[in-house]
Symmetry: C2
Subunit: 435 residues, 2 copies
């Protein structure tokens, strides 16, 4: 077996920043061809509805539907998938959904208001979205955990109708995905995918109802279609490749750390796994472990490619410098494999999810710890958050002026409106002044 050719950097080398810029840079660009194809598909589904949807499903998914009723996968079929699941898998899925629900219940916002001395009332009314579309990829990346992580927060928020689309190429369905939909209470499921499914959710067809927001992962065509319909409907973040940054003081079993790095690298060739440690000898040990363990991994080719293309092992002078690395990298997943991870928290400004202590494998967060596994990638943790209940609730400001409040506020508003040259604003405020 050949030693894993993962990059090694020292954070105090002269060319470190340039090297880091290089491995961190990631720009997902929809090229002109993809844009053109997606534009045509979206326009066509918007205009021709079901017929276009069935045409593209025949063309791209090799699935010929003769009647638009066949677009829908029945609730009975979902229940059947659930009933046929091995008990162990069913229990694991149910526990996952239950724990994710318990965690997300704590994210729910309530309406609030307050009254001022003059009787003026101010506040915000919080309401759930009416209808949400959940995109679930077919094929190799068909993950039931993704159904749980997207559906549960929407249901906790109180979304009335949750519509799932999942492509079934050549009619192949993923039983785990259907079972997860049954467990999470997904209201309707349609066997379509790609840009055509996104268009159907955004604009509606004779069979698929238009939704208010579309969430869930997908390939470049799906991502491009989501960008295109944004504004007509809401969308979640466009995810980049998965990432993990493990910070270790050197006292965790190097095999554990090696496997944690693998667990992101195995997602796909573009995934990024980085180890930061102040202990250079420990770094050597982790690389030895990775080289040895790699051979045992069914997905070893993907893992090797990812680690050699975008991975890195970085030595730092101390844990202070490790924290600088964290805030620079702003990782999707951050593992703090150290004695006292709580002490580090106040200094950590950017990370999607923080896995604290030697016992918290990142994989627990992917499936069943409770927090969401849909997280900001590609340094977007600098300005965005994990998917949550807050993504399925919205707010309306409330203002109710007493006659006294209308008088006080009206005078101020009129002065400012005059200053901006908006005379109707000023007049509208002045009508309500006390004479």
């Amino acid at each position: 077996m050949s030693t894993l050719a993962i990059r090694r950097f020292d954070a105090n080398e002269a060319d470190f920043n340039t090297n880091m810029d290089q491995i961190l840079s990631w720009e997902s660009v929809s090229d002109d061809r993809v844009n053109q194809v997606v534009k045509e598909v979206v326009m066509d589904v918007r205009q021709r509805g079901n017929q276009a949807l069935m045409d593209y499903t025949a063309k791209f998914d090799q699935l010929t539907l003769t009647d638009s009723a066949e677009l829908e996968i029945s609730q009975a079929r979902l229940q059947q998938a659930l009933a046929n699941l091995p008990a162990e898998q069913r229990e694991a899925l149910e526990l996952s959904a239950k724990r994710v629900e318990a965690y997300h219940l704590r994210q729910k916002s309530d309406s609030w208001s307050y009254e001022e001395a003059d009787g003026t009332m101010l506040g915000q009314q919080v309401t759930p979205l009416d209808r949400v579309g959940l995109y679930v990829p077919g094929g190799k990346a068909a993950y039931p955990s993704s159904v749980v992580m997207n559906a549960v927060p929407a249901k906790v928020a109180g979304v009335k109708e949750l519509i799932m689309v999942v492509p079934t190429p050549r009619g192949e369905v993923n039983e785990l995905v259907l079972a997860a939909a049954a467990i999470c209470g997904v209201d309707r499921v349609f066997c379509v995918g790609g840009a055509q499914a996104v268009a159907a959710l955004a604009y509606g067809t004779e069979t698929i109802p238009a939704v208010d927001k579309i969430v869930g992962p997908g390939n470049i065509y799906v991502a491009t279609a989501k960008r295109m319909v944004f504004g007509t409907v809401g969308i979640d973040m466009i995810a980049g490749p998965s990432e993990i940054l493990v910070v270790c003081d050197g006292d965790t079993d190097p095999d554990w750390i090696a496997m944690d790095l693998f667990s992101q690298a195995e997602h796909d060739e573009d995934a990024q796994s980085i180890l930061v440690t102040p202990d250079a000898a420990f770094a050597d040990k982790v690389i030895e472990s990775m080289t040895r363990l790699l051979e045992t991994m069914p997905r070893k080719n993907i893992i090797r490619t990812a680690l050699e293309a975008r991975g890195a092992v970085i030595t730092v002078k101390d844990m202070e410098q490790a924290i600088e690395m964290i805030n620079l990298i702003a990782p999707e997943h951050l593992e703090l494999s150290v004695d006292d991870p709580k002490a580090m928290l106040p200094k950590i400004r950017h990370a999607g999810a923080i896995f604290m202590g030697r016992y918290t494998a990142e994989a627990l967060g992917d499936y069943c710890a409770g927090p969401n596994h849909v997280l900001p990638t590609s340094r977007t943790a600098r300005f965005s958050s994990p998917l949550g209940v807050y993504d399925f609730q919205k707010r309306s400001s409330l203002i109710m002026c007493s006659p006294e409040g209308a008088d006080t506020l009206g005078r101020t508003a009129a002065i400012l409106a005059d200053g901006e040259g908006l005379q109707a604003h000023a007049a509208s405020a002045r009508y309500r002044l006390r004479k």
Copy 2:
């Protein structure tokens, strides 16, 4: 004076839905030419920094800067603008900022966590964004209230550095805008605008620091540039034309309602003002008021164009049907000019801001009531919220497993990871099981 040719609909006519689709439809499309220009400007500023920024400022704003130090407007200059303001305007601006701050303080989220029976800790750490860019338009739409509404929530969130850009065509500055920046504690101000300013904020130049999120209104070039840099930085919503829906039972002074409708229509020719009432005779009176009052308005041409192009007066059979209209239109501003607006709230699902009762002119919300005036337009209130402190905070999930928690959760995670064919995930979880 000619009668205002505003459309009149009855919600129970056969062709009502078609008519409404027509007046509600709005798609802001950046044409290929705009996209091309913006792409070139953004790439150029990204590559050539200050020099490109100064070149475009000379070209588009007719402002020639000889030294990059001239890009910045000093804090002393902001204080000077504030000191020179008439007392009345200064007090009004200060009151506005104070009230907006008081309201937004109630939106601030705190970190939270909880511990499970086995000692596993779960939660979210909430942190402010590091650095935010605020775009303020120059020229006719230079609104100091916009500085207040964007800057205050960022400051309340705890954003460390707030960078404002404002074009100064031919060197003309808006004193009210600079004074508002001083009052709101904006940290640095640069005299640049357009797509070049957005690019500078997104990528940074030798003088302007790169930010994490860009907020604030702008023309089609600014909006297109924001869309283009989204992902590298966060952005706020891309706003469409302003809208108001007034629902009135017929018992408010028709002049008041007419002026409230004007106060959105005066923004620009594409703005939308709609009245919904169950009282057809009252609808007549409001149209009479509008026809009469229009002549007194300095911005009467804009108002007439907007009302005749996109306005409507709609009669409904009762208040229940009025509520259906609200949820269909999902307006940016909703005015409930009725006796008991609170009773209507539980049925209202979609609105950016709700102005309740006869005394609450929409204009109060634009300036000083407290809630934000940056609101979802073009029916996006179905899935989005007013600008708020939550737009300047972000969350990191926290997971810290006890050895016992790692054992329980690890078993479940391993089963699910095996089901998804992700063996490194499963192995990483199994390492932490009790032997």
